[in-house]
Symmetry: C2
Subunit: 151 residues, 2 copies
Amino acid sequence: MADVPLARLFAMASYSLISQLHERLAERGFRELRPAFAFVLLASRERPLTGNDVARLMAMTKQAASKLVDAMEAEGYLVRKPHPDDARAKSLHISAKGKRLLEAAEQIYAELEGEWARVIGAGRVGAMRRDLMEVLKASHDGELPPVRPVW
Amino acid sequence: MADVPLARLFAMASYSLISQLHERLAERGFRELRPAFAFVLLASRERPLTGNDVARLMAMTKQAASKLVDAMEAEGYLVRKPHPDDARAKSLHISAKGKRLLEAAEQIYAELEGEWARVIGAGRVGAMRRDLMEVLKASHDGELPPVRPVW
DNA sequence: CCATATGGTCAACGAAACTGACCAATGGAG
DNA sequence: CTCCATTGGTCAGTTTCGTTGACCATATGG
């Protein structure tokens, strides 16, 4: 039988990790998270976004992005502030709750990777991370690309 | 800075690979593919599915699954046949066009993995595949899990 | 300083999920 | 055997989250 494409293994692994992530986030009180929230929070942790940034990141119209930001603001993950340099624009800042969510996710991911290490060893897990980072950076000017919804 | 979670690297890699896959599939005439199609086709290549199989696989109601099958049948990727053992059920078979799509996808993935090998070497690519398969099988009774939509 | 481009929202519409209601066939308990 | 609860599937109506179209306020270059 031919090799299973890496992309397909990534999809299986993503399903496995993200399902477990959400189970454990729910235990910690983070419920009813839309899939889209994570992408916007991760990007807004790097720097404040504008609505258009969200639209580009999510590959959606700015109208849809605006509604998404409404929802995230209503749930307390994001704060709309006036933009310092452009009176038309709004500056979208991650809230303290948003940061707590990302920190919880990262702690849970570390636990899950610990379980992987018990199966294939920490060295293999580390090698996988290094190799993935190298490939991804090679196709993005030496930087990791943003985390975006799949196609 | 803390390690980037593997799950996030998988998401980046999936976006990259799947975007390129769809560009190249479009060049070969496969256009207007819904994301959901791939999951159903992959599973139906293994064995004919029922509507309920589709609903479980996709984690959707059987009503939604029925509509999805309608769409896939209309596009010629799937064929509904009477079920041999159960007169209520329908047997969903992948069509020749569906098989051609999966074969094209696999050929394109092989090309893309070749490009990865040019960056990190074929050995690393192979190691990644082996390690991923090992971890995934370890949590699924020695079998690879189905490819399912993420969360 | 005016014309055009850009950031954002409101309103109406559409795709694709959902819930509820239902029918036909199955299959185990008596 | 014959019920009748369970299961596979669809039809109809609703909800969610995207879309397109119209529009306003601010920015910006000729």
